[in-house]
Symmetry: C2
Subunit: 253 residues, 2 copies
Amino acid sequence: MSQTVDRALSILPLLAEGPADLGRVADRLGVHKSTALRLLRTLHEHGLVYRQSDQRYRLGARLFALAQEAVENLDIREIAHPHLARLNERCGHTVHLAVYEENEVLYIDKVESRYPVRMYSRIGKPVAITVAAVAKLCLADLPEPERRAFAEKLDYPMYTSRSTPNAPAFLKELARVREQGWATDLGGHEESINCVAAPIRGADGRVVAAMSVSAPNVVVTADELLTLLPLVRRTADAISGEYSGRTSVKDSV
Amino acid sequence: MSQTVDRALSILPLLAEGPADLGRVADRLGVHKSTALRLLRTLHEHGLVYRQSDQRYRLGARLFALAQEAVENLDIREIAHPHLARLNERCGHTVHLAVYEENEVLYIDKVESRYPVRMYSRIGKPVAITVAAVAKLCLADLPEPERRAFAEKLDYPMYTSRSTPNAPAFLKELARVREQGWATDLGGHEESINCVAAPIRGADGRVVAAMSVSAPNVVVTADELLTLLPLVRRTADAISGEYSGRTSVKDSV
DNA sequence: GAAGTGCGTTGCAGGATATGCAACGTTCAT
DNA sequence: ATGAACGTTGCATATCCTGCAACGCACTTC
């Protein structure tokens, strides 16, 4: 591993907390100011860091562009999107697409029905991994030892009284999800929000992504939402088929 | 400037084009495979690149999270958002917020009325700089020599017959925009889309951002859209006032 | 089935390259 | 006017990165 690059990259999460001046960056990195300066300059030339008018540094524009291109190049997302949109048209609720990557599950697409407000704020954001239905599906597919090790390392914040409380409960839930091939989150993240989710599988049968339908229970009860399960599963299967190359676009009902 | 970091960062835009294997990365960088490997490993440890199942590398998840945090920490965006939402409620059209940074103008917020589809796809994306109304406002505020130099360097793609054709025309338009304090894009980017935009200024009077209202002319004609100009300008001024009032967090505590 | 090809990976020696130091230029507050 | 805080520069040292060559592995070819 390269020390110089390592230090330079450590600056990014540091700046993500908010703008910082040279001294602060140098301190946090544990290097001399002149060293930090050269690293920041290099980051700056690549547009990853921006120098605002008060001379402090913050994350730069290129970062957005990169993240943008990255998300647009995900083929699962591209394949899934029309299916998600169609599902949204039929049921009217919010539809999510998420993938597992490097100890995180994150939303990579979303189609929402009513509220345009802050829609972007979730795309690319890690999900609440211990409670989200899509997270359960992705993690349930990990090999057993890895799954266990991972569950042990997690925090289990009690978002609501129905949040997953600890590792054993989580592992038990994952086992059930793995068994039944779908998952729910009934008020585990926000009291009034329920989700049903289904897995999307690659050609080898491994879960490559998961999709969900979410709705507040002022609109539909959890039971009513569950009646959508067959539709959600069919959609997920259609995406799986198309992604793994077996099926073409037509055979979704 | 640090060579090692420079090389490492050059990998990112390369991967943004699509997944690549080690050999390809090494070739494009002009370094030995073993060197590329070590750089990629370091990027990997920081989550900026991901190694997919076929062993090829692509951009990683942390990139999204970083971009996410970065955009959420922009104080202009935070201040402006409620104003944009309110404007959207009143007129029903798409509302954009954009900033100039390092030779690019990019959208940092958007409130859309009807079509939830692919909403995120524009946030963080560079705008069509030669035609977009918000771009004109940002660039018109640059000091004259810089503005001229910049205009000379640009490409002038003819998106439509009404796109800005070349540097002289662009500079002339910028001068007019600067004069009148607002800008339009009447079918310069997409034939049927019109925009009106107004600048947001900091305490020193410099343009720090620009906002616009866009609508397809099947919904409202360009003339009708122009009747919104006073409302747009009032909104922009309100944001300017609030922004320059408590510019940084420290002096408002 | 054996030999060949392409790919990622490892350890190492040499030297390019990053590092910390000390000194200077500014800006701002006292 | 004086001092402090901060960013910036040039430079000598040695650290850390580089390219090489060899290896393991998977997959293709004859």
